[in-house]
């Protein structure tokens, strides 16, 4: 597991209050919203805010590929990496 994947997993657990969960319970390819982990729209806003605060990335909730970036931990890590490199 890469450091960035681990950091994002911990961020999800912390920001969304997923008591009882550890990064090991959160595979990088697990779907976060709806089916899979079962997060909802309030979680999406909360997670967006957490990513924004931690990595300094402005997220456009209206952009059509935002949904793709938030699909799972791996896609979020790719999104964060791309912005950090830019």
């Amino acid at each position: 597991m890469s450091d960035l994947h681990l950091e994002i997993k911990n961020l999800i657990i912390e920001a969304l209050g997923l008591e009882d969960m550890t990064p090991a319970d959160l595979p990088s390819d697990l779907t976060l919203f709806g089916e899979g982990l079962g997060l909802d729209s309030v979680d999406a806003l909360e997670l967006g805010l957490a990513i924004q605060k931690r990595f300094g990335i402005k997220i456009d909730a209206e952009a059509k590929d935002t949904r793709t970036h938030f699909a799972n931990v791996a896609s979020l890590a790719a999104f964060v990496s791309a912005h950090q490199a830019a």
Partner: protein, 237 residues
């Protein structure tokens, strides 16, 4: 007003069972709040995670009373509500930081009854009240209205969280966090009467005083608040 109290349950840090409360009523004292969390293990983790301690207290005392009673109208009373959440939001605002959507959506006074309605899948009439010293009696008045309207039973829950330290010296009516749930139904076991009258302020929140009557340690009870005199009694104990 006449009604029955079919069942009750109360929680405060370190006090849970009727025996715990019997001992407290015999020697009432301020409790130390070590941030104990009431058990809400009957909810899946994904549903539990957004519940503040105030919400957990409410769910802990009310859930067993509602277990065999779908659907059940609810009167929720809290003078101070989610004060810790509101303070967290105001603090973020003052620092020019973005607000947490979760904190924001759950800070309103009726958020807890909303969660209750969703998690119990109960769409009965539910009310969230905020009132001063005699809020308990005002909430009973509301509950009796629902009973008179034909509800077979009504759930009444009083819950207060310890205010954040910033409010020290400003909030003096929450000696420790507590929650009390009553299930009321139509009947003549209890009577609550209102008259004009002055008297001393009660030593403890009214719902905690009421526990002495509920435990049978005292036959009646009188509460005063702003020239209102409320008398609780059990005409047919």
């Amino acid at each position: 007003m006449q009604f029955d109290i079919d069942q009750w349950r109360a929680w405060a840090p370190g006090l849970d069972s009727a025996e715990d409360w019997r001992a407290w009523c015999a020697a009432p004292r301020r409790l130390i709040d070590a941030q104990q969390q009431p058990d809400v293990g009957f909810l899946p983790a994904l549903q539990r995670r957004r519940l503040s301690r105030l919400a957990r207290m409410m769910f802990h005392v009310a859930w067993p009373l509602a277990a065999d009673h779908p659907p059940l109208p609810l009167v929720f009373l809290s003078r101070h509500g989610e004060t810790p959440r509101t303070l967290a939001i105001l603090t973020d605002l003052a620092r020019d930081e973005p607000l947490s959507p979760t904190q924001f959506s759950l800070s309103v006074h009726n958020a807890i009854i909303g969660l209750w309605s969703i998690l119990r899948q109960d769409t009965s009439e539910m009310t969230a009240l905020a009132a001063e010293g005699d809020g308990l009696e005002q909430a009973v008045l509301d509950a009796c209205g629902l009973l008179a309207d034909g509800a077979p039973a009504v759930l009444l829950v009083v819950a207060e969280e310890a205010p954040p330290a910033l409010f020290d010296g400003h909030i003096d009516d929450v000696p420790f966090p507590y929650a009390v749930a009553l299930r009321l139904s139509a009947g003549q076991g209890w009577s609550l009467a209102l008259e004009n009258g002055d008297g001393p302020r009660a030593d403890w929140p009214h719902s905690l005083n009421l526990l002495r009557c509920l435990l049978g340690l005292q036959p009646s009870l009188r509460h005063h608040w702003k020239r209102r005199q409320w008398t609780w009694s059990r005409p047919h104990p």
